[in-house]
Symmetry: C2
Subunit: 665 residues, 2 copies
């Protein structure tokens, strides 16, 4: 408990998640803004510091708190490494400043300040003992002597008392004996930037592409898949996510198009993990060896790509765990192991773990060791399959343990489930998550959803990753909309969310045929080998490369902060992004109707874009490399989706040099 003499209350601290129960998420190497309310009685001046440190270290670093109005104060700091950090605030009544302000007013009102000067002299003399250097000590001693010396000129004493120099030295050596803090420090998870910003590409390494697609179809290896890496790198992707690479079970193996009867040559679903050849820590022999995987990861990294592995905590009936650890599974009354169900549907090819079993601790330890095993092989990014069907507290412990060893790891939650469960997974430690983006279409839907995702409290713990398609989801609009829809969904995902991803080559090749009655691809790679002619002239690969270059070159797109701008046409969506420095500003206008040309007036919220009301500015379409001179809030836009469904403008502000030569930054 704090002493009764601590008159400042520290409250409303930010960032915090659920009253401090969970860490807030931030990114290494960027200033982290922290703020709080400092509430104290009366009208005395208040001062304080932000205290921050890496968790586990003892010493706090400090930054002075600056007032932001309405009793709010703030400061920022740079977390210099990934991992767990913590911060708190310390605040106290600033008696010296209170006194100096009063003295100045009294002196201005020609009042007798003789006694007041003695009060101040005492405060300054006391500060000498706290001085951090001999220079400060001497400055304070001199000031105290002058203030307290009745023989000296009164004006000189008042001038000394109210001088900015003395104020600075006193502020640097405050009396914190009655300081208050938060009851508990608040925690931060400091992630690599990739946890927030990255373009993801998913492919099945066993498939064939390019020239190889002309050959007869066969199961490709990781060594062969390496040849596809330059193609992915050329498109500018940051992460390459591979479906599970482990041995695939044979029991109840699914055939093409999710049929129940697989032939002897059917390759099975990579998510049916585990066979005689091994389980979650093994590489499927048909893909290669552990060495091949390490080589693949290293080769990708040399091209600027992180490989993401799939973490799917479920087993095929052939998985070694089933025999070695029957205690981890639920048993039916006949002694058999309970397969997955969604009554009346049965999934006999999948055994779920029983997270409530008596042996839960050994189960949790083993599953966590699966992730650290792959981290040891050099993998730093994990896409977790269906995390919402595994115990939340398990994830909290698993991710904390992995990140304690490998603070640079990134976990993407593949959760498409109830809103509160999506958010709970993020609180448990997932770095980012799939979202409802895939099923959002209208201006109102995007505006409402993005406002929720990109502002506290949600933005402090949940980071979105927008996917126009996945192997599980071929949404209806992609089935029927043709190229304009693919382009539009690509731009929406890539521009609205700092992280986005596509499942290719089906995306860039605009695959659109669904299995009848399902929102899923026909002849899905999940169940069979495919080959892809990525050299097709209509491929979107070039456009994707351009979009990813725009993303990399514009820091505004590296974060999720967004502003929406009014348009007078319901089909035109207009949003802006601006980086922390305010220098880089991107403005997008998207025609949401991919069947018709739409035109209208956009009404820009100029302060949100950092543009002055009467400033001229240029909007530079980075996709079409066209430039338009705009001014004021209202500007006209027309978009023909057959040409392009969107403008991606960089706002270039008007600068007039001393030689009256105009250019745009």
């Amino acid at each position: 408990m704090q002493s009764g003499r601590s008159r400042v209350i520290v409250e409303g601290a930010a960032p915090q998640v659920d009253g401090g129960r969970y860490p807030a998420k931030r990114v290494v190497g960027e200033p982290i803004d922290c703020a709080c309310d400092l509430v104290s009685d009366g009208h005395d001046a208040v001062a304080g510091r932000l205290l921050y440190r890496r968790a586990g270290t003892k010493e706090w670093a400090e930054a002075p708190l600056a007032p932001r109005g309405n009793d709010r104060f703030g400061a920022s700091f740079l977390a210099t490494s990934t991992g767990r950090w913590e911060f708190t605030f310390e605040a106290w009544i600033d008696h010296f400043t209170t006194w100096a302000r009063g003295l100045a007013k009294k002196a201005a009102a020609q009042q007798d300040v003789t006694l007041d000067l003695l009060t101040g002299a005492k405060m300054v003399a006391a500060a000498t003992a706290r001085a951090k250097s001999l220079v400060e000590n001497e400055a304070l001693s001199r000031a105290a002597a002058l203030l307290g010396d009745p023989a000296m000129d009164l004006h000189a004493r008042v001038a000394q008392a109210t001088s900015p120099e003395l104020a600075r030295v006193m502020a640097d050596n405050p009396d914190r004996s009655h300081a208050s803090r938060l009851d508990e420090p608040l925690a931060l998870t400091i992630d690599p930037k990739l946890a927030r910003f990255g373009a993801w590409y998913e492919f099945f390494p066993r498939s064939s592409v390019g020239r190889a697609s002309l050959e007869p179809l066969r199961h490709r290896t990781l060594r062969e898949a390496e040849e596809r890496l330059p193609y992915v790198a050329d498109m500018g992707f940051d992460v390459l996510y591979l479906p599970p690479i482990h041995p695939i079970g044979r029991a109840y193996r699914k055939g093409p198009n999710n049929t129940l009867t697989a032939g002897p040559d059917d390759v099975g679903s990579p998510w049916a993990i585990g066979a005689a050849e091994g389980g979650h820590k093994a590489v499927h022999p048909e893909l290669g060896t552990l060495d091949d995987l390490r080589r693949f990861v290293a080769r990708a990294r040399s091209l600027g790509i992180e490989v993401a592995l799939d973490v799917a905590f479920q087993v095929s009936p052939d998985h070694p765990y089933v025999k070695e650890h029957p205690e981890w599974f639920l048993k039916r009354p006949d002694g058999s192991i309970q397969y997955a169900e969604n009554p009346p549907k049965k999934y006999q090819d999948v055994y779920p773990f029983d997270f409530e079993c008596d042996a839960w601790e050994s189960l949790w330890t083993e599953l966590t060791s699966v992730v650290t095993f792959w981290a040891e092989q050099g993998v730093r990014v994990f896409r977790v399959d269906n995390p919402h069907t595994k115990s939340l507290r398990f994830w909290e412990r698993c991710i904390a343990e992995v990140k304690a060893q490998y603070p640079d790891t990134v976990f993407l939650a593949e959760a498409f489930t109830r809103p509160k469960l999506m958010y709970a997974l993020a609180k448990m430690g997932f770095s980012q998550s799939y979202t409802y983006f895939t099923w959002r279409h209208t201006k109102e839907e995007f505006t409402e959803y993005l406002r929720e995702l990109t502002r506290p409290p949600v933005s402090d713990f949940f980071r979105p990753n927008f996917w126009p398609n996945t192997p599980d989801i071929l949404p209806e609009h992609l089935q029927y909309g043709g190229r304009p829809v693919f382009v539009q969904r690509l731009i929406l995902a890539a521009m609205m969310s700092a992280s986005y991803g596509i499942y290719g080559p089906p995306f860039e090749l605009m695959e659109h045929v669904a299995r009848p009655g399902a929102e899923e691809y026909i002849d899905n790679e999940k169940f069979q080998l495919r080959s892809w002619d990525v050299e097709r002239p209509d491929s979107l690969a070039g456009l994707i490369g351009k979009v990813n270059r725009i993303r990399r070159e514009n820091p505004a797109l590296h974060d999720n902060r967004i502003s929406f701008h009014h348009t007078d046409n319901p089909h035109l969506l207009c949003f802006g992004k601006r980086d922390a420095s305010g220098e880089n500003v991107v403005l997008c206008v998207v025609n949401l109707d991919t069947n018709h040309t739409h035109a209208g007036w956009v009404e820009l919220d100029l302060p949100a874009l950092g543009v002055q009301p009467h400033e001229r500015y240029q909007v530079h379409d980075l996709l079409a490399d066209a430039r338009y001179q705009w001014s004021g809030t209202r500007n006209y836009v027309e978009l023909d989706p057959r040409v392009t469904p969107a403008h991606v403008f960089r706002i270039r502000k008007h600068v007039r040099t001393e030689h009256d030569f105009e250019y745009f930054l």
Copy 2:
């Protein structure tokens, strides 16, 4: 820590203040609604209970949680006594319900459910050990036997498994071995209803009223002031607040109109507390004795009025504390005690306590004993003068200690200060507070301010008390607006806020002359004796009585929940109130321009008022006793402020009896 097997996360609990740091406030004898999110992995059924108890007792009482959609659950309970209570939530996976749902689906799909029935039989058999009665035990045993008996008819076994009776008994005896709770219970302060709902009247007992006002002016006593109680009771007030009744200091006593030189007959300000005759625990001899005060309190209570005393923690230089406890005050370098200052202004008649002094603990103890002293005399309501200039943590401890002994006490904070400090005082324990109402005028101002005050988070800890005037504040609109403004401000205060108050007789006599250059009454009772002719025919006393009767008779006005309704005239403010049962609905339309008649259309939010879209209803003006037949959302209103600036409607819903005789409830 909860076991890893607890799969439910309890979060988003309400009500809570600052993550549980401070208690939320509720009122005795009313259902208290509590809610939380229960988030668990997967799709299993979840069940839970609200647990609640008086703080300090051991046993929890329980109420089952009902789903409210989107993973939110709630229940309510009745706090049967004032004081500190606490609550938490407990929740678990409901395996039986999950199983029964699945069984019903499988059976409907004609699947073999033999094994499933055995699984269920085991669950039901296990529940027998938890049965709370022999009857339940037997019912469960019978059900388990039937479910598990392969010799019995399959249809009968499925019917038993999915029967509502079995579901009920299983829900009453759940398996809570892996239940989760909040990390810590949440606290509630249960107050008497007066903490939220009450009409306050302030008068100076030393002044003269009525017939006595014709006599020569003299200092009246508490005995004489007793005669004024029926007048206050007739106006329907619930609380009578007296300025400080303690001996008044002579040093630096203020004269009439806050002048610095008092004559020998000047009575001084009651807030200059303390003289040779005693301090904060004494009664000013000119008012009478402690006995007189107790008699006054009892007489008031017999008329339905609670007496509120003023708690002003500051002293006159003549206060006994100054000699007896110089350690509680700040000393100047010359050894004199530091008087109050707001540089360059000096208040030499007032010594503030130094809440940071070394002897802070004895100071806090003594000040707390001042409040308990008056509580021992029967006083239960305290209006605290300038609490924002005393240490916040002092109030937290003081109010907690007083309420531990006297849980029925009500503390009104007389704070007109910064918004966060107003709210911090409420968090420290003040039951209610003065507000910015006095300076709010426009439709936007009222709407914004009331929305902030009447919804969580603010409404969970802060309760408003609206005052059109106080001895310190004669706002400009009352100085120049005449009767229409007095009537309008009265109705606004009394209808918008469950607690409101006036300083009389100046209010009902429409005193409006200010001391030049100040927002304060001329010849203020704070500094001199006054006499008031409350029999004046233009007095607002009759109207005030009617307004207070309307308040008492309409439960909708006993709470601060409010809805605002659109009007097409910026001068017309329309708001509605509805009690918890939904039966009592009051709708007010106020002309905010007291100089001109205004008319317009109100656009009612019918669901907020509990009216069906096509229902006819009557609006009954309770002030004018006029009735209008309304229907639908749009209705016309015209208000001439010279007649009345407001309609105060009770909405009476249309009822058609079986004999086709219509009436309105």
